[in-house]
Symmetry: C2
Subunit: 304 residues, 2 copies
């Protein structure tokens, strides 16, 4: 019975939501809770730590009174740099009683979830985009994930932004007319292009990224939207191709993750076609990717 | 002598600096002063008005004690929407004694400066980009200028951002190696790509835009930089072509303006080649464009 009191937690802190799972030493999940965005940016470590501490309190409450954790692992979007990881670890140690605390990237915990051991690549496209993979030798590389200003090609934010640029171009005659104009105005509840762009300029990236499905749905009917979807798929395929080259493993299994790549999405369909047409074809596998569970698995590994 | 006491002022408020000229009723320039950025954004009207009032005080001081202005015209970057224009006019009326106050776009005052009357197009590419033109019938249209998030294609900020994306892609093997990596690191004083991107992510747009000349200079030696320069020139050429179509005047004279299009710039050279190759060729004219003087001319027109 004493064994059951040893508790571990894993967290997936993303641009649009944060998920936390609490498990016992056997890896059994005791509870799962969710909250708002937990993306890590310079100067935001305290706020993210606060959110995670709140979720942990909620999860522990659901599992009865427990004094402390054995290990806590957080996979956070925006945690690519050591400075941000260190800042969040420090803020968490102030707020959470846990013998071990580790912050890594959202991509790393997604990889752990899809491929707990051995080689594999996870390509993730949600608000942002990134690919991460591990080869037979255990070497881990990432490709992309440079952030929304100068990277994240093929992400929902990039696709929505390209859609808005196409709307602006159509409006002043630099580009062809597109169905996207009416569809985006409707989705954002605006009456003029000027109003739409002004709104989008001040909207949070997740709000803008939420327009990506509008582009996906229009692709079947609209040549402009179709080109944007194809371009996003091409960018995502480049991630996989660069990564399998870098890992020196062309047979490596590849799993897809993230809101832009859910089944039925036009970007997913276009991407799968490209990956199958690659030389040699990409070894796509159907894996459920649950980053929070991946983080929990890593936490169990920290205190076996 | 009484005539000489009637004073008018014109202001060019841009992303990187604000210039103010003070003139008399004959259009003679009495003084010219400069200050920091004056770009208009939602919520920033008070700060911009404060900057302009300070410059005006400085200019009036230089012209001796004068009680009030006849008219003040401001051409401001970011003033494309009526809401922002109205807010700035109101803030200015609180701070400045002037019989007439008018806020318009930076592009409109640049057009006034290059083509005081009759038809003409000014294509401007600095931190942002926009084209504005007036036809023989006096109709004024603009193309582009949608802002840095979803527009401003071919601007210094867009070009620098594309350069940084190319550096990120080269770093993780999605794109070819490029000289831009070393050149941009050197220009920004950073030692790693990770550090460069992290810096650029938090830097103000003008700081990022200041890397555009690095891309221009590398274009002669580096195929990646050369492609980016060609793409920027193509985007700028689209502005002119869409505008002369809209104005129904293919013989309309076109003047170039802005920091990215100074003589000797690779983007200017590539753009000029495209405009000359257009069908029919674009009627490029060599005009000095001084937006602050254009604003002064509009101010004189308000109180003739």
């Amino acid at each position: 019975m004493a064994e059951e009191l040893r508790l571990f937690a894993g967290v997936d802190a993303g641009a649009s939501r944060t998920a936390l799972v609490l498990g016992d030493a056997t890896g059994r999940i005791l509870s799962r809770v969710r909250g708002g965005p937990g993306i890590l940016r310079p100067g935001r470590a305290g706020a993210v730590a606060e959110r995670i501490a709140g979720l942990l309190k909620q999860a522990l409450g659901a599992s009865g009174p427990v004094a402390s954790l054995e290990a806590l692992v957080i996979g956070a979007a925006g945690a690519g740099r050591e400075a941000e990881r260190g800042a969040l670890e420090e803020e968490l140690r102030r707020r959470v009683e846990s013998r071990a605390v580790l912050v890594t990237t959202d991509a790393a915990v997604a990889l752990q979830s899809a491929f707990p051991e051995g080689p594999g690549i996870v390509l993730s496209a949600g608000t942002g985009s990134i690919a991460i993979g591990r080869n037979r030798e255990g070497t881990v590389y990432r490709v992309g994930g440079w952030g929304r200003q100068f990277g994240d090609e093929g992400s929902a934010y990039s696709l929505a932004r390209a859609g808005l640029a196409a709307v602006a171009k159509a409006e002043d005659g630099r580009g062809p007319k597109t169905l996207l104009t009416a569809r985006m105005l409707e989705a954002a509840g605006k009456v003029s292009v000027e109003e739409l762009i002004a709104w989008a300029r001040l909207a949070r990236p997740q709000r803008v990224a939420a327009l990506a499905p509008v582009v996906c749905r229009a692709a079947a009917e609209d040549p402009v939207a179709s080109l944007l979807v194809q371009a996003a798929a091409a960018e995502l395929a480049h991630h996989v191709e660069a990564l399998r080259e870098r890992l020196s493993d062309f047979a490596i299994p590849v799993a897809l993750s993230g809101g832009l790549l859910v089944k039925g999405s036009a970007v997913r369909d276009a991407l799968v076609a490209r990956l199958k047409a690659a030389e040699p074809p990409v070894n796509l596998v159907d894996r459920g990717v649950d980053p929070a569970s991946g983080a929990l698995a890593l936490a169990l590994g920290l205190r076996p």
